[in-house]
């Protein structure tokens, strides 16, 4: 059982404060494979686990479960195991982790679906992340148009490594991520997200699927039109 004073105990609610000023280790735009996150989100597709998001972490010796507050869906990191054979790509992908001292090293593969940063609530104009995913020379859109920016798609060949550890006396959580997808020619890049420990109020349920009765046979057509595979 994990203990409260243990640096390997990540339990609690962590607020996504977005990327710090050290965000990207740089390079150029992540890659050519872009789609409208705005459009995909309307189809109730989910963000993959490797898109940093605040939320509540539950932890057992075998699994770290990260309940993301952007879509109230769980991401699971299985500890001290290998990737399973013949993994089927999913929105969350398959994440395994192990501890290197106080750092949780997470390896994620078998992703599909959306992936990106613009449009999430914690992105601020001028942040490195914002600049990174915005086309060179593109002006800052008003908030309601954030969703129209293009994003990187998570493909089954995308490989993400994260190094997660507590900082500032355990009051914050640092997630250093590196992304590479040689099969698609994407430029490898890194980024960093910082989360702050806090106390969350009561959850309020809200489900994407409840807001749109048009889902039905047209869903497949919408998916096809969006370019999502």
């Amino acid at each position: 059982m994990v203990s409260a004073a243990d640096p390997q105990d990540l339990r609690g609610f962590w607020f996504g404060r977005g990327a710090s000023e050290r965000s990207y280790a740089a390079n150029d735009r992540p890659g050519p494979r872009t789609r409208s996150k705005y459009e995909l989100a309307l189809l109730c597709l989910v963000d993959p686990g490797v898109e940093p998001s605040g939320g509540e972490i539950f932890q057992t010796p075998a699994v770290i479960t990260w309940l993301k507050n952007t879509d109230l869906r769980a991401r699971r990191i299985y500890l001290n195991v290998e990737h399973t054979r013949d993994i089927k790509p999913t929105y969350a992908g398959h994440s395994i982790g192990h501890w290197e001292g106080a750092t949780l090293v997470v390896d994620t593969v078998a992703l599909q679906g959306t992936f990106g940063y613009v449009g999430t609530s914690f992105h601020r104009p001028g942040s490195d992340i914002y600049d990174q995913v915005t086309r060179p020379g593109q002006k800052l859109p008003p908030p309601t148009q954030y969703f129209k920016n293009e994003i990187v798609m998570a493909t089954p060949t995308l490989h993400v490594i994260e190094r997660i550890h507590k900082i500032n006396n355990g009051t914050q959580l640092e997630d250093d991520l590196s992304y590479e997808d040689p099969a698609t020619g994407m430029t490898p890049y890194t980024m960093q997200a910082i989360f702050s420990f806090g106390k969350a109020g009561a959850y309020l349920e809200q489900f994407c699927e409840d807001g749109n009765d048009r889902f039905g046979p047209a869903y497949a057509e919408d998916i096809s039109r969006s370019g999502h595979k």
């Binding site: 509540e56 539950f58 057992t60 309940l67 290998e82 089927k88 106390k199 489900f207 807001g211 998916i223």
Partner: protein, 258 residues
């Protein structure tokens, strides 16, 4: 505009969720486990698949005539292949308590001092029992209602109100009203290898009397949760679909044995 509104609703979740949230600068912020409370964490699956709830004495729930008529209409429609009464066919949440056993799929429990979270495999929906939440006379209605939990010895007791009327209590279409109140009592049994849920229903608009049912769940390996995206499952023939018994290729015994 409707699309923008929908997207805005999605993204507003974090704001809503954390409406009363605050950040902390405590030096030791990680919460300690609640003293004495059993740990219900793990992955659970209904021991005996079911589609229709029964009372504790294995009888049909005591429906009032109007509710019985509605129930029969749903049963008849289902037999004729008409599931229009059932919003889960549109991927809307099965709600509470149906989500605990829908399709026989598992759910994961996450537990903290502040809340107990049920993370269902079925479309990855989440239901939360907030510990010590002060419930109003009526709230919602919501798919999962509003739940306030307390610990009574080894038992998690959840008072639930405000479950949406259109959410059937089970797969067969058992009805209820918005005013229904449930008391759920969860406890570990059989050395922690099973979870028992005793559920008490009170709904004078639907039932002739209060009644109870008992559900038992088996503990599964923690690798047992698979990803389900309902809209893909229903509408994209070639999409990934978890199936009962599918463990996603997990190596037997490779992880999560509790």
């Amino acid at each position: 505009m409707a699309m923008l509104t929908q997207r805005a609703r999605i993204l507003s979740l974090a704001t809503l969720l954390l409406a009363s949230a605050s950040c902390s600068s405590d030096k030791h912020p990680v919460p300690a486990a609640e003293p004495g409370a059993p740990d219900l964490s793990g992955v659970w699956q209904i021991a005996q698949p079911l589609s229709a709830l029964q009372t504790e004495t294995h009888e049909a729930p005591p429906l009032l005539p109007a509710a019985q008529t509605l129930y029969q209409q749903r049963l008849t429609a289902s037999r004729a292949g008409d599931n229009s009464w059932d919003d889960t066919a549109k991927c809307k949440p099965p709600g509470e308590p149906r989500s605990l056993f829908e399709m026989g799929w598992p759910f994961q429990i996450g537990q903290s001092p502040e809340r107990v979270v049920f993370m269902f495999q079925w479309n990855r929906y989440v239901r939360v029992i907030e510990m010590g939440l002060k419930l109003p006379d009526f709230d919602g209605p919501f798919f999962y209602g509003r739940s306030s939990g307390t610990w009574e010895g080894d038992t998690l007791v959840a008072h639930v109100i405000g479950v949406r009327e259109e959410v059937a209590l089970d797969t067969s279409g058992l009805p209820h009203s918005d005013d229904m109140k449930m008391i759920e009592r969860f406890r570990l049994i059989n050395g922690g290898q099973q979870l028992e849920a005793r559920i008490h229903f009170e709904d004078p608009a639907t039932f002739t009397r209060a009644w109870d049912t008992v559900l038992v769940f088996n503990r599964l390996p923690e690798t047992a949760m698979l990803e389900d995206h309902c809209l893909d499952r229903l509408h994209l023939p070639n999409s990934y679909r978890p199936t009962l018994g599918d463990r996603g290729g997990a190596e037997p015994g490779s992880a999560g044995k509790h």
